[in-house]
């Protein structure tokens, strides 16, 4: 028996990476696939960002200057779709691919060929979506939430491409999620019990279950849109016995857990970084795990808080208001735990820590506006205004994306084997921190003063605020090019990184050399 195993090991070592394009096309290596995901998401971040620049340029002044309203709507729609499905979600999947096997002492993901496929269908999904912009009649222009009947009877024929593209994204996400779950359940090193797993692994484990639960719901929603538009069904058409509001129920039953899919892995990242740079163990590990699970569970009971103005019975409005308010309890526990971790620590401020601290503060601000939005009577005033735009950009940009930046700065030496340019990293941080607040904070005021979202032109009272916001937007967009330059520089060379470049870092990933060898943990480590 042992000889057989020995032979297989031997065989594996000969199986080294082919070079050139085939290495990337046919790779089943979790590190290669992780890198592919991360580069893909960064490219999509820039593409979606360019669309945001178009939006901000048009909104720089009142009146119509640069684009037609129909094209403006395509920009807001595709910007949202690309940032959600193309930038944030693949970035987290990339991090999961790179880090989960190394964190739990596994040699690779459990299903490596499926891993290859789940990445390589993604570029096709987004090629289809982007190509639809060049169709006659333009791309999808109904908002990333594609409410029927605007997306059915009243949409252009690019809707069919949109539907197929979302289907492919969904298949990719589901396969990625299955891989994460199977890997975590089966491939932990001896002694790595569930309650010893790093929080990044825990939060991704829970996220993966959310993905499997809700991506099929999204697939159902887009399929019903397709058949309503082309095959004469009336799921969302009252004239045929359907219900346009039912679309929103189905969409948000997917959409709200989706919001947590985009933030739970962030919690895991920040829970790794804050203890490392406070040189102190994470406060309340068990309560962090339970809080994550509680947030995930509650996420299935709050979807209709996106729909308070659709005309629901008072009882339903009260139920969804109370459940939504409840979410702030486990979320609060997490923030308190991070602060308690820092308390009486020995703190230093390297770039990962800077982004993690900005995450905690700015995500909490987004949480406060979320709590305000939960209050149904006041939500009637906030709903579909820039207050909502400010809220979800605080949790998604200065929340999710800042945590992804923190993760990149934390693990970049492990990935490339080089230390990055600290001065450039700090410049990127301060430029991003200041511009992100100039960009999104004034949006709160615009929304409270009554500016609706998704409009290409506005009344003159909002002119000053929009000008400030646009300037912040251009600055934030440009700041991200610093990051691109920094990463390219770091990949190409730099000071040699030690196995553990951060004094207080904990975890199995720091026990292997930097850069991490192509195959790690062929023999599982012993976890005490």
């Amino acid at each position: 028996m042992s000889t057989v195993v020995g032979e297989m090991d031997h065989h594996d070592h000969h199986h080294h990476a082919p070079s050139g394009i085939t290495r990337w096309l046919f790779t089943t290596n979790h590190k290669d696939i992780g890198s592919l995901y991360l580069w893909f998401s960064f490219i999509m971040f820039l593409v979606g960002g360019a669309m945001a620049m178009v939006i901000r340029a048009e909104l720089f002044q009142p009146g119509l200057q640069l684009v037609e309203p129909h094209f403006f709507n395509q920009m807001t729609t595709v910007h949202g779709l690309i940032m959600v499905f193309g930038a944030v979600m693949p970035a987290f999947t990339g991090l999961a691919n790179w880090m989960i096997p190394m964190m739990i002492g596994a040699p690779d993901m459990a299903l490596p060929r499926m891993n290859n496929w789940s990445f390589w269908i993604l570029p096709f999904a987004f090629a289809i979506l982007l190509a639809s912009l060049f169709m006659e009649g333009g791309g999808p222009a109904f908002g990333w939430t594609f409410y029927a009947p605007l997306s059915t009877t009243y949409s252009s024929d690019s809707t069919a491409l949109f539907v197929f593209s979302v289907h492919i994204m969904g298949i990719s996400s589901i396969m990625g999620a299955i891989n994460v779950i199977v890997t975590i359940m089966n491939m932990r090193a001896p002694g790595m019990t569930y309650m010893k797993m790093p929080l990044f692994v825990w939060t991704w484990f829970i996220t993966a279950f959310l993905l499997i639960a809700v991506m099929p719901v999204l697939a159902g929603a887009v399929t019903m849109v397709l058949t309503d538009k082309y095959f004469g069904t009336s799921f969302f058409d009252a004239a045929g016995g359907g219900d346009p509001v039912m679309f929103q129920h189905i969409f948000w039953f997917f959409g709200h857990p989706e919001v947590y899919i985009m933030i739970l892995p962030s919690f895991g990242i920040v829970s790794a970084i804050i203890p490392a740079f406070s040189r102190k163990q994470l406060f309340g590990y068990a309560s962090m795990v339970y809080a994550t699970a509680a947030i995930a569970g509650l996420s299935f009971l709050v979807w209709a808080h996106h729909m308070f103005t659709t005309g629901m019975p008072v009882f339903a409005e009260l139920f969804f208001m109370y459940c939504t308010m409840l979410i702030s309890v486990p979320t609060g526990v997490k923030v308190f735990n991070w602060v308690a971790t820092m308390w009486r620590g020995s703190i230093t401020f390297e770039p990962p820590m800077m982004f993690a601290l900005a995450f905690v503060i700015l995500f909490t601000i987004g949480g406060f506006s979320g709590l305000m939005l939960a209050i149904t009577p006041v939500d009637f005033q906030y709903h579909d205004t820039y207050f909502v735009v400010a809220h979800f950009h605080y949790v998604l940009v200065s929340g999710a994306i800042f945590s992804i930046m923190a993760a990149a700065y934390y693990w970049l030496p492990k990935w490339t084997g080089h230390m990055y340019d600290m001065g450039l990293a700090k410049l990127h941080f301060w430029a991003s921190l200041i511009s992100v607040n100039v960009l999104f904070f004034p949006m709160h005021f615009a929304g409270l003063a009554g500016m609706p979202r998704r409009i290409p032109d506005y009344s003159i009272q909002f002119a000053d605020i929009n000008q400030i916001v646009s300037i912040g937007g251009f600055a934030f967009g440009l700041s991200q090019l610093i990051f691109l330059w920094l990463v390219i520089k770091c990949v190409r060379g730099g000071e040699k990184a030690p196995a553990k470049p951060w004094e207080g870092a904990e975890g199995l990933e720091w026990t292997v050399p930097s850069p991490a060898p192509y195959h790690t943990f062929d023999t599982p480590p012993e976890v005490k």
């Binding site: 208001m321 609060g332 602060v339 703190i347 609706p452």
Partner: protein, 373 residues
């Protein structure tokens, strides 16, 4: 001196009020909107207090517990009592928030015993108001000139927030709104009333308000409803009951006059120049948003009229689609939106503008004949 001072203060008061509302939620002009504003401020202040405590502790650590200050890390990593406290205390705060929120919400959703009822119907991209128990109904369209939007003229004070015919309601009476849509989902929003309700096609939502101060109140469509979502404002004028009654009587009389005028016009015919002039005006107001001023439409979304088979050949089909619309598309039925003369003129215009040059001249009587077929 004191008179001067008072008049100066009075003059400044609206400016101050306006300046305040540019950064915060409006307090509005109804009892409900005031309660909503109070709720908003209460929760905002609670969030501020929590923020000061949490961020205070964070910054304290960042400043005092730094490695560069020679701090050695403590080793504690859990404390059940503290963890229970910061689970239970937020929960209690939430209950404190939920109580006033619940009572306000229940009051907002009580549409019973209204004295006036208005049916509000959204369509791409205008509002329609119909007063129950009368024949009075009309469309309310954006009144901002196209040139202001295209930056060819200076923008007015109420840029994008002005309509040709505002909704008029009486003060001091409970007014109920029944809200629905003819095509996609819209949302009828007047911030000063704290009323925002979606207009769903095929369904009717209810909302209500009771305004105490006469005035002009402006809002906008709040749900993305297609290309011109940003260009369908809501304007409501609240009048004293006596003035409101006078206005309503005037509307009823005007409606009657219009019907008589319509009958009179049936007997008259327009010449080509008259028809083209009126037709262009109607086209710009009702058709150009989709089919574009040059008649070329937007390929793949809104069909071109320039050189189209229908505009060149099929006269009956052309009248039919303008009068009855086309189900399953954005093309609305204009039979109840325009007078017969206007329909005749716009069909004539579409058949002769942009080089269509069919020479067809349609009269109001033709439309009347078509509608009575």
């Amino acid at each position: 001196m004191s008179i001067k001072l008072i008049s100066a203060l009075v003059a400044m008061a609206p400016v101050a009020a306006q300046a305040r509302s540019q950064l915060n939620l409006t307090q509005g002009v109804t009892d409900i909107s005031q309660r909503v504003y109070d709720l908003h401020m209460t929760i905002f202040y609670i969030c501020c207090v929590i923020g000061v405590v949490v961020f205070g502790a964070m910054f304290w650590s960042m400043i005092r517990h730094r490695k560069s200050k020679g701090r050695k890390p403590a080793t504690f990593h859990e404390n059940v009592k503290v963890e229970i406290a910061w689970t239970v205390i937020p929960f209690l705060i939430l209950i404190g928030m939920a109580i006033p929120a619940t009572s306000t919400l229940i009051a907002m959703e009580d549409t019973s015993e209204a004295e006036v009822t208005v049916l509000v119907t959204g369509s791409q991209w205008k509002w329609h108001y119909k007063y129950f128990d009368t024949d009075v109904e009309y469309f309310s369209l954006l009144a901002t000139p196209r040139q202001q939007i295209e930056n060819k003229l200076d923008k007015g004070e109420n840029y994008l927030l002005e309509v040709d015919r505002p909704l008029v309601i009486p003060t001091g009476k409970k007014v109920r709104f029944l809200i629905t849509s003819d095509d996609v989902i819209h949302s009828w929003w007047v911030p000063d009333f704290a009323v925002k309700k979606d207009a769903n096609p095929g369904m009717i939502n209810e909302a209500w308000t009771k305004v105490d101060e006469p005035g002009i109140y402006r809002g906008q469509c709040a749900e993305l409803c297609g290309k011109d979502h940003g260009f369908m404002p809501v304007v409501v004028i609240a009048k004293e009951p006596a003035e409101y009654d006078a206005w309503m009587a005037e509307q009823v009389a005007a409606k009657q006059r219009a019907e008589e005028e319509e009958q009179r016009l049936l007997a008259m015919s327009m010449d080509m120049d008259e028809a083209m002039e009126l037709g262009e005006r109607v086209y710009v107001g009702s058709c150009a948003a989709c089919h574009q001023a040059n008649g070329e439409g937007i390929p793949g979304v809104f069909p071109a009229l320039k050189g189209s088979d229908m505009a060149l050949n099929d006269m009956q089909g052309h009248i039919d689609i303008v009068v009855n619309g086309k189900t399953g598309t954005s093309m609305q039925a204009f039979g109840n939106q325009l007078t017969m003369q206007e329909i005749a003129a716009v069909v004539t215009y579409e058949r002769n503008a942009w080089g269509n040059d069919t020479g067809d001249l349609v009269q109001a009587a033709d439309i009347n004949a078509f509608m009575n077929e």
